[in-house]
């Protein structure tokens, strides 16, 4: 059960009287949001506009099975593509013999590195990953050859018939050794080293706590495996239907590797079965297009679950050493941290992930000084890149554990300690950047704490409701309860000077029945988050019409950027709004002509334009008789700067905050956990679709809970041990806690509609909150996630004792 409060923070976050009771929540609806330029009169009556919980336009096809995911695409003439992958984590390719495979009946093409006509490598930030390995493979699963065949079974047999002779090379699997080991790639083993020095780095506190923390490799584990259909086009180019997060960056990489001009590579979004960061990098895009061009026929590729686990990037595993200095009153003096991220074999977005880890290493707290040393390195482990929370998940686990240790050392309440140090508007984070926008850190903490705790355990609790669930392993007397809190800060959108933008085209016209309708054309990848709903809501509110059609997302319009970094509501929502504004101005211009009032301020109302002075009006449909109105606009966010040699700079656009309070039942003997409830306060700016926001919060919490207690890609000598849903476990319905959420609505200056992105924060601080709760229940130190049963059953007890007055050591 989820209880939800939405509304202005003045009512929702006072802490004393939350608008929620355990079983029958009262909900305060947020007022519709007025976008700039249109104001109240237009959305007073428009249905399903901004601020409402409008339905998804794809809601019905998704419940009938009619919605076409990229894996559902089909062409009568299509071939099936398949990838041969390296079984070794590091090896030299001595020889490849494709003759047997190529000779098999039904096999149409077998391609190797030398068949890549253009750029031999791809990558999001650095193009260091071969399209197909030529001489060396650097991780298990690296693509070596691709085939196209008439039937998937034939394609499978064909890749098995390819004879590759490998000569195993020494493995680099310990990230701590990467910087000093012989390079395993011409670009070296260090992707980025990022020092940050803030304030008096020699300052010391009265109380010092330190700890070492580890985060395991999490996977996005979306349900719909990678898939695509590529068709050769008449102009010698290629048409690609693909589930991805960023059509244009895929297009540019495909075009470069195929040696085609960008305009001969056309991408259309196929239905996306979840993403969470894993579809930001190229996986099969280049391969499937290569096969289509080589064969002159449509080619479909569809990864198996195991291949999906090997074929996309994961969350960076992290090792972190922390030391917090504070005064006796709890004031943070300095945070020191060494952060080491394992980037795996190729760069992906590692450098940006590291920047996030370093910039937010101290969390959402005011701290006078910081000395952070971050590094992300190359190893022969699986490549890592984007996953929801992007570098902040790792450090949040560490800094929140540190805050609890500090609270223990100070004999202070952990919530009090956090409130005492909570960032507020005008404060600077450790990069020296001042918070010029909203920063309701206190409010999110108070809102999370204000929710009622779950009911006390009952004597007659059925065993299935206890830790161990369906296995019936525990009795009530075996179980201890604990609670914990954690708080997070996350940057929204891209950072470090990246000129991020999104494009949208809006066309307003009349249908054959004479009704006005708008078409929104955006390349924004809908991956489930609900941008399609939002685009309709924005357009309805801005143009005063109900019928809004979404053009397929494709590269026929400018880039929308990636569906990542909690950025699409702000970036593509902003672009849709700008395009609507231009169309809106065009409508008013026409109305002034029709009404003969060249200078009057006219008002757009649902279905018509009105002259408030005279009451004269003209229907939108009539204004469109002169033809459609169309506008294409780009939306850029405010510029950011790079980080200097000390990691200082205004590198981020905006920040969002969240607090999570977890309540868990733990069976300490067996080490099993049941997360009962997550109470959260989240800074959302404005909730443009409250139900969709809640959906993001619940889904994000599920992934945070997963990292806390079960999710890990197990890698041994560079080999993945659990590439299946049998052994890579994600939470089931029985593992999901109830969620009590309060949305803190303080409109963000500079943000379209005042809305902040909401996708990532729920995933970030939910993990440390759960672990804090397990510590509370068990007294175990638990410095690594996911927390395994044996960590609880056998783990070291207690917090590491504070070393009062100790001097800093780097």
């Amino acid at each position: 059960m989820t209880t939800t409060t939405c509304g202005p923070s003045s009512t929702a976050a006072t802490g004393s009287a939350p608008a929620v009771t355990g079983s029958a929540p009262a909900v305060t609806g947020s007022a519709p949001v007025a976008p700039p330029g249109t104001r109240e009169r237009t959305q007073r009556r428009v249905r399903d506009g901004l601020g409402t919980s409008a339905d998804r336009p794809d809601g019905t096809p998704k419940v009938t099975g009619a919605f076409a995911f990229s894996s559902d695409l089909h062409d009568q003439r299509m071939l099936w593509g398949r990838t041969l992958r390296s079984p070794h984590a590091h090896a030299r390719i001595v020889s490849i013999d494709t003759s047997a495979a190529a000779a098999m009946p039904g096999v149409v093409a077998v391609l190797l590195a030398e068949d890549v006509p253009g750029k031999a490598t791809f990558g999001l930030e650095h193009t260091d990953q071969p399209v197909l390995a030529r001489d060396v493979v650097r991780y298990e699963g690296e693509a070596v050859a691709i085939v196209a065949a008439e039937h998937p079974e034939t394609a499978l047999r064909a890749i098995r018939a390819i004879e590759v002779t490998y000569e195993p090379l020494p493995l680099l699997t310990d990230p701590a050794e990467a910087a000093t080991t012989d390079p395993i790639h011409p670009d070296g083993n260090v992707f980025r080293t990022l020092p940050l020095r803030h304030g008096d780095v020699d300052a010391t506190g009265d109380v010092v706590v330190e700890g070492t923390y580890e985060v395991g490799m999490q996977d996005q584990a979306f349900l719909g495996p990678e898939s695509a259909l590529a068709l050769p086009s008449d102009d010698g180019g290629v048409e690609l239907f693909i589930s991805t997060q960023w059509l244009h960056v895929d297009r540019d990489q495909v075009a470069a590797c195929l040696a085609l001009p960008a305009d001969q590579v056309h991408l259309t979004l196929g239905g996306v079965g979840g993403a969470f960061g894993a579809r930001e990098d190229v996986s099969l895009q280049v391969h499937v297009c290569l096969l289509a061009l080589a064969t002159g026929r449509p080619v479909k590729m569809l990864y198996s679950r195991a291949e999906s686990f090997l074929g996309h990037v994961h969350r960076h595993p992290a090792r972190m050493r922390y030391r917090h200095h504070a005064r006796r009153d709890g004031t943070l003096v300095k945070v020191e941290a060494e952060i080491l991220l394992d980037g795996g074999a190729y760069a992906s977005s590692s450098t940006a992930v590291l920047a996030n880890a370093v910039c937010f290493a101290a969390g959402p707290y005011r701290v006078e000084a910081a000395r952070i040393d971050g590094q992300v390195v190359r190893t022969n482990n699986p490549p890592c890149g984007a996953m929801r929370g992007f570098g902040v998940v790792q450090v949040c686990f560490a800094h929140e554990a540190q805050m609890d240790r500090l609270a223990a050392a100070l004999d202070m309440d952990p919530v009090e300690l956090r409130l005492h140090n909570a960032l507020k508007p005008g404060d600077a984070i450790i990069t020296g950047q001042r918070l010029t926008g909203t920063a309701p850190v206190r409010e999110v903490i108070e809102a999370a704490m204000a929710h009622p705790l779950p009911p006390d355990p009952r004597e007659d609790e059925p065993a299935i409701a206890l830790p161990g669930g369906a296995g019936l392993t525990a009795r009530r007397e075996d179980v201890r309860r604990g609670t914990g809190i954690a708080v997070s800060i996350k940057n929204l959108m891209y950072s470090e000077g990246f000129d991020d933008y999104s494009t949208a085209r809006v066309r307003l016209e009349t249908s054959p029945d004479g009704e006005p309708f708008a078409t929104v054309h955006s390349a924004c990848a809908e991956v489930g988050q609900g941008f399609v709903t939002l685009a309709q809501q924005i357009t309805r509110t801005a143009l005063g019409i109900e019928r809004v059609v979404l053009h397929a997302a494709d590269t026929g319009v400018g880039s929308a950027g990636s569906t990542s970094a909690s950025r699409q509501t702000w970036m593509s929502g902003g672009a849709v709004q700008l395009a609507c504004d231009t169309v809106h101005h065009g409508l008013l211009e026409r109305a002034r002509g029709v009404l003969g009032v060249p200078d009057e301020p006219l008002v757009l109302e649902p279905g018509r334009v009105v002259d408030p002075a005279t009451g004269a009006e003209v229907a939108i449909a009539q204004l469109l008789r002169a033809g459609p109105l169309e506008a294409t606009e780009e939306h850029h966010h405010a510029p950011t700067s790079t980080l200097d040699a000390d990691g200082q700079g205004d590198a981020h656009v905006s920040f969002a905050f969240a607090a999570h309070r977890a309540t868990v039942d733990v069976d300490p003997d067996l080490g099993l956990v049941r997360v009962l409830q997550i109470a959260t306060g989240q800074d959302v700016g404005r909730a443009l679709n409250p139900r969709a926001v809640i959906g993001q919060i619940e889904g994000g919490i599920a992934q945070g809970v997963g990292l806390a207690v079960m999710e890990e890609i197990l890698v041994e000598d560079g080999l993945v041990r659990n590439p299946s849903f049998t052994d890579y476990l994600i939470p089931t319905a029985l593992d999901m806690p109830s969620v009590a959420a309060t949305l803190i609505e303080q409109p963000e200056p500079g943000a379209p509609f005042g809305a902040k992105g909401v996708g990532e924060p729920p995933t970030i601080s939910s993990t440390p909150a759960v672990v804090a709760a397990i510590r509370d229940a068990t007294g175990k130190a638990l410095t690594r996630v996911p927390v395994r049963a044996q960590d609880i059953a056998f783990g070291e007890a207690g917090a590491i004792p504070p070393t009062a007055g100790s001097t800093s050591a780097g």
């Binding site: 499978l156 369906a470 296995g471 392993t473 075996d478 197990l714 041990r721 052994d727 939470p731 044996q790």
Partner: protein, 279 residues
């Protein structure tokens, strides 16, 4: 590949007599994964689904005969009173969808060390009924499961049923995994108290190459229990857990560690015994 879908047991064993290499398909929940992942490429499949006589649960004065094609779902829905321990174990199997397809005979045939029904069958001294054109024979589960995914079934034999003796007394099963549902067992226990014979029996799963009994632990616990009151003191219950842990021979793998499995099976054993005594 050819698939034989006989409707009678006689026809089925005839198929195996003709082609002892044929793969037997029961509920498919293990076999189809192997086939899909290309770990197995059967030339010839014998599908048992149409053989109604394999889907019966029958009771006699001696006990219960469970047809090989009886699903976990049937057991938990229809036979929980008759087979309480097996019903408990069945509820821990996979998901509702898997329980609708997976069969008791299939669990025996796969003979995974983590097979969810096996500890209880072992604790009950159940016997596997095997049929071939040569006749039928019965083997105790302990003799039937010879190693990890290995059984004493001859290639031309079919598992047709498992016989569970009638037994008075409480039973409890527990299964441990790293998620609250739908997991492969990291350790599991089935404890049955035979109040008539005044015996304690335990089957332990996922802590050895085959499901294991713990005879020393069983004997000591039987001594320690006050059978009239069905009670035992805490020391005896703890000792039972420790003795069960000592009898386990678990391994390290990607699902857990040997150390943890040994510890966990001891805890589960104690708790299952406690539950039986409290019941």
């Amino acid at each position: 590949m050819p698939i034989a879908r006989p409707t009678s047991l006689d026809d089925a064993v005839a198929v195996l007599a003709d082609d002892p290499a044929a793969d037997v398909l029961a509920g498919g929940t293990d076999a189809m994964v192997e086939i899909s992942f290309d770990h197995r490429r059967p030339r010839h499949v014998l599908a048992l689904r149409r053989i109604d006589e394999l889907r019966q649960v029958t009771t006699t004065s001696l006990g219960v005969r469970i047809g090989a094609m009886v699903t976990y779902g049937q057991i938990e829905r229809d036979h929980a009173t008759l087979l309480p321990g097996l019903a408990m174990a069945s509820r821990t199997v996979g998901s509702p969808q898997i329980r609708n397809a997976g069969t008791i005979g299939g669990n025996l045939g796969t003979a995974s060390p983590a097979g969810d029904a096996l500890p209880w069958l072992l604790a009950m001294d159940a016997e596997v009924e095997l049929a071939s054109v040569r006749g039928t024979r019965r083997l105790p589960v302990a003799a039937f499961v010879t190693g990890p995914k290995r059984t004493a079934r001859a290639d031309d034999e079919l598992i047709v049923a498992v016989h569970v003796p009638a037994m008075e007394g409480p039973q409890h099963t527990a299964k441990l995994g790293p998620r609250n549902a739908m997991v492969i067992s990291v350790a599991c226990t089935a404890v049955v108290l035979d109040t008539a014979a005044r015996q304690v029996r335990i089957g332990m799963g996922a802590v050895g190459p085959t499901p294991l009994r713990a005879p020393d632990a069983e004997a000591a616990a039987a001594e320690a229990i006050d059978w009239d009151a069905l009670r035992a003191d805490g020391t005896a219950i703890a000792a039972f857990g420790q003795a069960c842990a000592a009898a386990a021979s678990p391994i390290d793998d990607h699902r857990s560690t040997a150390e943890y499995r040994r510890h966990a099976v001891g805890v589960l054993a104690s708790r299952s015994l406690t539950r039986c005594l409290a019941a």
